[in-house]
């Protein structure tokens, strides 16, 4: 993916988080908490679990539809994530060849089952992480983390990075464009040009930091960043938390696919 496209996607994802929907209006603390509970529940399934994971698609599906998030955009991002899980998981079918299921006479090895399980988990966890940022503004997440007791210095770092991310990425985009215009194929894109480019970017960054610091001082900066937005824990938040936790618990404990399967077998 080109630099410009990546930057565009970053901005678009950020823009999504400022939409107004049922999900967007929820307290960020609740969303961060629920996302974590969801991920831990999904990951807690054993190595060979496939059917148990299927009902968990309910959670992203709900967030997509209630939060009005474009599905294709997130799916594309999930596909583009450098998939370490895929490269490690693909060894399972090679190494674990014991047959596990018989599917219409075709034996499915344990390796393929565990690989499928890894890919399902990968999809569910990555999608839910992206949905968190697509439905919660970044400062909102910082606020949640602060309330969860994460140290102030770390929170102010996050807020700073978010604030200057777009500025610096745009600046980087300019130098990358300049480099690409002067290079042919791989010529001119080597380490040497990269170092000079990075060094220049670094110098500009430090100078910018100095200017920012002076500007902050003149506005009464005393070492701490304050947020003005206050969130209140409403009954909608309590309801959302209660329902998701209850549903996740039920899906974890109850074999939904099994009972659905038995039901459909009886029908057909």
């Amino acid at each position: 993916m080109t630099f410009d496209k990546e930057y565009f996607n970053l901005g678009y994802l950020d823009m999504l988080s400022y939409k107004d929907s049922v999900i967007h209006r929820l307290d960020p603390r609740i969303k961060v908490l629920v996302t974590f509970i969801f991920i831990v529940t999904v990951v807690s399934f054993g190595k060979y679990e496939v059917y148990g994971l299927v009902p968990f698609f309910l959670f992203p599906a709900m967030l997509f539809s209630l939060g009005d998030i474009p599905v294709m955009f997130i799916m594309k991002k999930v596909l583009l994530v450098s998939s370490f899980a895929f490269f490690i998981g693909i060894f399972n079918p090679l190494l674990d060849r014991q047959p596990m299921y018989l599917f219409y006479g075709v034996a499915v090895s344990g390796g393929w089952v565990s690989f499928l399980s890894i890919m399902l988990k990968f999809f569910l966890t990555i999608t839910s992480a992206l949905l968190l940022i697509a439905t919660t503004s970044f400062p909102g997440i910082c606020y949640a983390l602060q309330k969860f007791g994460i140290p102030d210095i770390f929170i102010s770092q996050l807020l700073f990075i978010y604030r200057y991310l777009f500025v610096l990425v745009e600046e980087a985009m300019k130098v990358v464009r300049a480099r690409d215009m002067r290079s042919f194929g791989n010529r001119g894109r080597g380490v040497k040009a990269f170092i000079a480019l990075l060094g220049t970017l670094f110098l500009r960054t430090v100078e910018r930091a100095e200017r920012i610091y002076r500007a902050m001082l003149s506005r009464g900066f005393s070492g701490r960043l304050h947020t003005t937005r206050q969130y209140r824990f409403t009954s909608a938040d309590a309801l959302f938390l209660a329902i998701t936790v209850a549903v996740l618990y039920l899906l974890r404990v109850h074999d939904v696919v099994g009972s659905m399967g038995r039901l459909s077998m009886r029908v057909f």
Binding site: E6, F36, V40, V42, V43, S44, G46, K47, Y48, Y51, G52, V54, L58, F64, S65, L66, S83, A85, G89, Y101, L102, F103, Y104, G111, S114, F122, T125, I126, A129, L130, L132, I150, I153, F154, L158, L159, I161, L165, V167, R189, V191, F194, L198, G199, F202, L203, T205, V206, A209, I212, Y213, M216, G223, V253, D255, G258, S259, G261, R262, S264
Partner: protein, 359 residues
């Protein structure tokens, strides 16, 4: 290489999160003790710089493959270990959110792998002693490359260990190591030379920046390797202790003892017998995420059978067919539900916006 949620077990993920959060708290405390407030914007903007720099690709000499910067070593050299760790952790957090690199549970592991090793091992134990005094450009290159390689090698081993402890991958330890280490040797060499290049570039162009930063940076003078090393050792021991605590809690043993307590006889049709009961008891009593949720390895259940269990060869094709049908049904229902909500919402907004432009 980013660790991924899908390869982790909750216990390993939680342990590394605990280690990472502990280190963040420790570094924040250290920074707070004597922080020049000028550092706060500098750290923040440098974090954004690293983020932007990681998006720029360059061609790796001789291969034609493209690589990008990690940044841990540059930060450690410029800001010192404590500030660098905080910045690295925040960069990785922003990446985990916006790019979903690895995922949120694996974020603890990723901060650990890419933050701890450059900041608290490679920088204080290798880079610093090697560049003591007035180091020339060649010494800086040498020190950066060695420390870059070591930081990435240890990080790669760490990924292997995390994957092994989680037990989701079939890869044997030795194969996995052979797979990871050479790749990361190459990445480390590139990372080291780019780090050296940038440091030397800045040193040549604006030497006062490095000097002024290192004079205002906290604890630059009195940071003793011994202290840092002891700190890392303590954290490592704590993590190791917690890990073995999690890992040694043998589910089979637990199950066995629960059976004893509740006096359930050994059921041959255990398939549906003890597992749900056991799970409920677990849910009620456990406070640890892993054993709060995880199914005991030894307990077969439903249509899914663990490998190597006695019940395993006896799977009838009927079970897998019903599982397949069930999955299709569940997914279909979820899709329909989501689609229905979407349609209802669209109609509502359309009603609200009649007369306006509906995009």
């Amino acid at each position: 290489m980013h660790m991924a949620d899908a390869l982790l077990s909750p216990a390993v993920g939680a342990t590394f999160w605990a280690g990472t959060l502990g280190t963040i708290a420790f570094c924040s405390k250290k920074l707070k003790e004597n922080l020049d407030e000028k550092m706060i914007p500098l750290m923040g903007v440098l974090g954004a710089f690293i983020f932007a720099a990681q998006m720029i690709n360059f061609t790796i000499p001789g291969t034609g493959a493209s690589g990008h910067l990690g940044g841990g070593m540059i930060l450690a050299i410029i800001l010192g270990p404590y500030a660098a760790f905080i910045v690295m952790a925040s960069v990785l957090t922003v990446q985990a959110l916006f790019f979903a690199d690895g995922g949120l549970l694996a974020l603890g592991c990723n901060i650990w792998n890419l933050g701890i090793y450059p900041c608290f091992i490679a920088y204080p134990l290798i880079y610093k002693p090697l560049t003591k005094g007035a180091a020339g450009p060649t010494r800086i290159v040498l020190a950066s490359i060695i420390s870059g390689v070591i930081a990435l090698q240890v990080g790669a081993i760490s990924v292997v260990i995390e994957t092994m402890l989680s037990g989701r991958s079939e890869l044997p330890f030795s194969t996995f190591v052979l797979l990871m280490q050479p790749v990361h040797l190459a990445i480390g060499l590139v990372e080291g030379s780019v780090t050296a290049g940038v440091i030397n570039f800045v040193k040549a162009a604006r030497p006062e920046i490095l000097d002024s930063v290192s004079s205002t940076r906290p604890l630059s003078a009195e940071i003793s390797i011994r202290k840092v090393f002891t700190g890392v050792l303590v954290v490592a021991l704590l993590t190791g202790g917690m890990l073995s605590w999690f890992a040694s809690a043998n589910p089979d043993g637990l199950e066995w003892s629960i059976e004893k307590i509740f006096g359930k006889p050994e059921l041959p049709e255990q398939k549906r017998g003890i597992a749900p009961v056991w799970k409920k008891i677990q849910e009620k009593t456990a406070f640890l995420p892993d054993y709060g949720f995880k199914k005991p390895e030894g307990a077969p259940e439903g249509s899914e059978g663990g490998k190597g269990e006695p019940s395993w060869p006896a799977i009838e094709p009927g079970t897998s067919l019903s599982g397949f049908l069930g999955s299709a049904l569940v997914l279909g229902l979820i899709f329909l539900l989501g689609f229905a909500i979407r349609v209802v919402r669209k109609n509502k907004t359309a009603e609200k916006m009649t007369g306006h432009d509906i995009r």
